[in-house]
Amino acid sequence: MLALLLVLLAAVLAGVAPRLMARLVSFRRAPRAALVAWQAVSLAAVLAALSAAPAALSYLTELQTGRWVVLGLAAAVTLLVLGRLLLSGHRIGTRLRAARTRHRELVDVLATPEPVTQGERRADGIRVLDHATPTAYCLPGRRSRVVLTQGALAALPSDQLDAVLAHERAHLRGRHDLLIEYFTVLHHSVPGPVRSPEALREVRLLVEALADRAAVRASSPLATARALMALAQGQAPLATLGAGGDGTTAARMRLLAADPMPPVVVAGMYAYAGAVLVLPLALLWLAWR
């Protein structure tokens, strides 16, 4: 029965928990703790699904027909999840790396490495694309790049530019790309009926909120907010291409106005993450005890 419980736990953690957690918008005020909680929930879901078959195997010693059904179901869930994880992990990873390599090769011949002054010191390694649309992004990976357009340099006064650069550097330093890749892979691995788009959307927002905190430290909440506004305005004519429209930018802006989360709540969020992660492991341990 513990095997069935693990299957149920996997479904709840993948399908129900994300929907509930996405509603707790105030958790966004502690983006780091919230990201830990999201990772714990997703990892626990995977662990639960992968433990189902091993847990069912534990009582194969007493052979009864009912138990064969449980074993069959648990094995099917485990193998399905494992297979889908490996497959979408491989597919998404390959596609992302190919797209990044192509993009980096283009940027390296098109964009000039421009020394941009950030605060007191010169910030090296920033590439400037000769284009009027203001945009700023980074290419993650081993050979990372921070890219700005001439339009962005023209639109941003120096304190706002500091905010933007600090934001992008925080993405690179924290390897936020791996976090997003992990949740993208999970998103595509979870079978349709239990999949919840909330997780991926919320994680994307939290990663931005986390990088915004680095931006605030390098400049100020106001400069960060104004940089968001300036770039959003500059890109609006192009947003019809499909980018944007999910309200993340406004949500980030509101977080810049919000007060930080009380430490007690943050501690509670970490405790929740730990407890969730222990759950599937405890069930697996019980099955084999």
Binding site: L106, T135, L228
Partner: protein, 131 residues
Amino acid sequence: MPHTSSAPRLGDLERTLMEQLWDSAAHRPDGASVREVLEALPAERGLAYTTVMTVLDRLSKKGLVTRERDGRAWRYTPAGTRESLTAETMRATLDDASDRRATLLHFLDGATPEELDDLRAALSEVEQRRG
């Protein structure tokens, strides 16, 4: 990100040669040979023929230049004008069709004109509380 000493130099060379090819594309529509590229470069760069050949070969493997045989040598042509390749790069950063959101990490995920009003309201909230 730490750079090895050779990687950025090779990148600089690639950009220099691409710029050379773009600049000469107007009067050399059939592309340029390694010799012609080398001769157009300022002499003080002191590049060897083989270096230019290697870099052009790398660029063609990356699909940034195309090459065509001309007798015993190759003639190299940029795969697109600087403007068209810049447009391709910008498209990759702004349109949502591909895995844009996972490929690159943006400062901003774009905002529709309707969203701008919402943003303005949020900005004035920040201005009041943090200004």
